[in-house]
């Protein structure tokens, strides 16, 4: 099947500063891809390249099978939604939606129909005569989406569209974007630094750092089987626990660190067997069993509670093992007191092991 968007060896450099480095990405028809990463990782730059707003230094970009590397943004068959909405402030909503179509010289009847349909889909019909200044943040973002919608394109690009909204509106619009995608079935590429948005919206997430895609996979895989330390540490809140030590690959594999010696039976190593090497063991805070729940776990240890952080729905406790700080998550009903002894257990099957040198998963 033909890819909806296909990026080949894309490089972008400003002088000596390389922002994107030989990047490859294929997006399927109707797929929702989220580009996620810390600020400065090149995710917005990549989106701007796809849109044609930045000239690339090397490589090619295909949209719907057409080579658009040198094509003007308006001719690429894309619609784009910006973080700051970028609505034309002196025009009414109706004008905002139709301005591009008018300039393109579409027949009046056609324009009316498209605007009407977009307004219907986004439920902004009552707002058509207002100016952006008279709209709320959420309404403005809807209009901005509408402006992409009327262009009747195959690919939608979203550049941190929800970052300027408050938390409540953000979660509401998130659901709406998901509904919109399910209804329209267009290809969508969505840039964000918010991992909740990434996990909830995406068919596949591309985690970026330093102009390189670190991992491109379903949200589930990314969360449970991160390919390297960066991805593991970036995803999840509270973040994954890391314990430094050594891994010996005889038998089921053994993890040893200051005072611990754990058998990693059940862990699926992704690399060939080798000798003993420095490694980092990663366990998500919610994968610990505590006290009674720890009993059935393959690996258990004891610690003293140092800090307790009640988070509302659950509680995070801090302790330490093998010289590393460990946080674990329990239900908020669970009583934790500083100074208490706790028994923690985990299943190696749900943990991750990384090479200490390269940071890659082993």
């Amino acid at each position: 099947m033909q890819h909806s968007v296909s990026i080949k060896d894309l490089t972008l450099a400003f002088g000596n500063l390389t922002v994107l480095d030989s990047l490859n990405l294929d997006v399927d028809q109707g797929e929702f891809i989220v580009l996620l990463g810390p600020s400065g990782c090149g995710k917005s730059t990549l989106l701007n390249c796809i849109a044609g707003l930045l000239d690339v230094t090397g490589g090619q970009i295909f949209i719907e099978g057409k080579n658009v590397t040198w094509t003007e943004p308006k001719d690429r068959g894309i619609g784009m939604v910006f973080q700051s909405y970028a609505l034309y402030p002196q025009m009414t909503v109706e004008r905002n939606l139709s301005f591009g179509l008018r300039v393109a010289g579409l027949p009046k009847h056609d324009i009316e129909q498209r605007v009407k349909r977009a307004a219907e889909v986004l439920q902004i019909e009552p707002l058509l005569d207002r100016k952006p200044a008279a709209l709320s943040g959420g309404q403005r973002q809807r209009v901005a989406i509408g402006r992409a919608l009327v262009r009747d394109v195959d690919v939608f690009l979203f550049d941190e569209p929800l970052s300027n909204l408050d938390a409540k509106l953000r979660s509401e619009l998130r659901v709406e974007i998901k509904r919109l995608h399910q209804r329209l079935k267009n290809t969508m590429i969505y840039v964000t630094h918010d991992q909740i948005e990434a996990l909830t919206l995406a068919d596949r997430v591309a985690i970026m750092k330093g102009g390189i895609i670190q991992q491109l996979d379903t949200p589930h895989t990314i969360y449970h089987k991160p390919v390297n330390l960066f991805v593991a540490g970036f995803m999840g809140s509270p973040s994954m626990n890391f314990i430094s030590g050594k891994v010996a690959r005889d038998g089921d594999g053994r993890f040893t660190a200051d005072g611990v010696d754990w058998n990693l039976k059940g862990y699926e190593f992704s690399t060939e067997k080798g000798g003993e090497a420095g490694a980092v063991l990663g366990i998500r805070p919610e994968h610990f069993g505590v006290n009674g729940a720890a009993d059935g776990m393959p690996i258990t240890f004891e610690g003293e509670i140092e800090v307790v952080e009640p988070m509302g729905s659950d509680t995070v406790g801090w302790t330490s093992v093998a010289g590393s700080q460990i946080k674990f998550r329990v239900d908020s009903e669970f009583e934790l007191n500083v100074g208490d002894k706790v028994k923690l257990g985990f299943d190696p099957q749900r943990s991750s092991v990384f090479d200490e040198q390269s940071g890659d998963r082993i």
Partner: protein
């Protein structure tokens, strides 16, 4: 002192009962000072028609205000109920300060003349001080004493029970800041307000060499509008104003748009376009006088290239001389307008440009239909700046043409100067400058309304 104001207790105590007399005290005190100021600026001339009795009324007026204030003070004393207590008074130090000021003023007022030789050691300022105190020392000493007594009156209040009243807020809180702001207050009231009023008032007199208070109603204005020189000045200003306004905005915007194209050497271009703005109008005028000189300048050069009938001597042609000045004015000022516009352009959200590109809107259409409307605040500010600069047009004309040929390039500001300082016809100058003031108000009031009054829906 400020802490007491913040305690919850203090706020609970009603203060309305006594603030009435405190307010009266302060208001009449300040009224006295303002009257004094008005009279010192020469507005006493307003009462000159009333003869001797009038002169006396005028002299007494500030004192009447002080007397009312003193009466109000006695009420403050009785309301606070502490009597005149000096020791243990919270504002003892403040009161002493005011009393010292009063003492110094009185001393110089009384002993200044006999001790003139001592004050002469201070040079010219010594003379001024003695003269000032001789004439006004008693009044200001009285003001200072009243303030001192007022502070002593309210100083017996318990700060933990009573909220600070008007007196305390005026004369005690943030005192240093208020003292530091005195120059500003003096300039704002004395020069800007007082001076403007003075000029307007005296434009209704018959002043010639010196300001006098012979009232002639609107005669000066009638004469003004009957003078061909003033009419020409107004016409010139109108032509120059409209052209300069339109052209600076258009050229400034186009230049800014050109510089905004992410071009190379932007700084060099900007430096070149802006440098004339660093030069004075005198220098500008003289240079362009030279460049437009018909015997040596552009005209001569073009003629020597073969077009021997070429005529371009704006500075010597009555009909177009104002455009010669316009050329120089635009050369000097458009760089600045460009900078303002460029700042406005740079303030526009980058995403707007991106959105317009994705929408496929050509650049010129984006500029005109999207960006220009978004720059409304910058445009309005620029407009006001250009307009208020146009009204002041003076140096350029003086340097470039001295108003010539004949009176063909006269402008109002030059008219005012000539009448006031060369023509010994002060009142004509006052009337003319009042007309200038009026024209500025016509520009300024709508702007102030847009900027401050109608600005409610602009915090988008």
């Amino acid at each position: 002192m400020a802490e007491s104001a913040d305690s919850g207790m203090a706020i609970a105590v009603p203060t309305n009962g006594r603030s009435g007399s405190e307010r009266l005290f302060l208001t009449s005190l300040f009224t006295g000072m303002v009257i004094w100021l008005g009279l010192s600026l020469g507005l006493s001339g307003l009462f000159s028609g009333m003869g001797d009795a009038g002169t006396w009324t005028v002299r007494l007026l500030p004192w009447v205000a002080l007397a009312i204030s003193a009466l109000a003070l006695t009420r403050v004393f009785s309301e606070v109920g502490g009597g005149l207590k000096f020791f243990g008074n919270r504002f003892r130090a403040h009161a002493i300060g005011w009393l010292i000021i009063a003492a110094i003023l009185l001393f110089i007022a009384i002993a200044g003349q006999p001790l003139q030789s001592v004050f002469d050691l201070l040079g010219k300022s010594g003379k001024i001080i003695v003269r000032f105190c001789g004439e006004h020392g008693y009044f200001w000493a009285a003001c200072a004493i009243l303030i001192a007594l007022g502070l002593l009156a309210i100083g017996v209040r318990d700060p933990s029970v009573a909220a600070p009243g008007r007196m305390e807020r005026t004369f005690v809180q943030k005192l240093t800041a208020k003292v530091a702001a005195i120059p500003m207050a003096l300039v704002a009231i004395g020069v800007f307000t007082g001076g403007t009023l003075w000029t307007v008032v005296f434009s209704f007199t018959n002043s010639k060499l010196l300001p006098v208070t012979k009232w002639v109603g609107f005669d000066q204005y009638i004469r003004l509008w009957g003078e061909s020189r003033w009419i020409i000045s107004i016409k010139n200003l109108a032509i120059y104003g409209v052209c300069s306004l339109v052209l600076s905005l258009v050229i400034g915007f186009i230049l800014a748009a050109l510089l905004d194209q992410k071009i190379r050497f932007e700084n060099t271009f900007r430096t070149i376009l802006l440098y004339p703005f660093a030069l004075s109008f005198i220098v500008t005028g003289l240079v362009w006088q030279w460049v437009l000189n018909p015997d040596f300048g552009v005209q001569q050069v073009v003629r020597s290239l073969g077009w021997s009938n070429f005529v371009f001597d704006p500075l010597y042609d009555q009909n177009i001389v104002i455009f010669g000045i316009l050329i120089a004015g635009l050369w000097q000022g458009t760089g600045f307008i460009m900078c303002l516009m460029l700042a406005g352009l740079r303030g526009i959200d980058e995403d707007i440009w991106k959105a317009a590109r994705v929408d496929g809107i050509p650049m010129w259409r984006t500029y005109i239909f999207v960006v220009l409307p978004m720059m409304r605040p910058v445009l309005i500010t620029t407009l006001v700046i250009i307009a208020s600069g146009i009204v002041r047009l003076y140096d350029l004309v003086v340097a470039q043409t001295s108003g010539g040929p004949g009176i063909a390039s006269e402008v109002p500001a030059k008219y005012v100067y000539d009448k006031m300082f060369l023509g010994q016809n002060l009142a004509q100058g006052f009337a003319a400058s009042t007309m200038m003031l009026l024209s500025v108000f016509i520009i300024l009031v709508p702007w102030a309304y847009l900027e401050f009054g109608g600005g409610k829906n602009k915090n988008d």
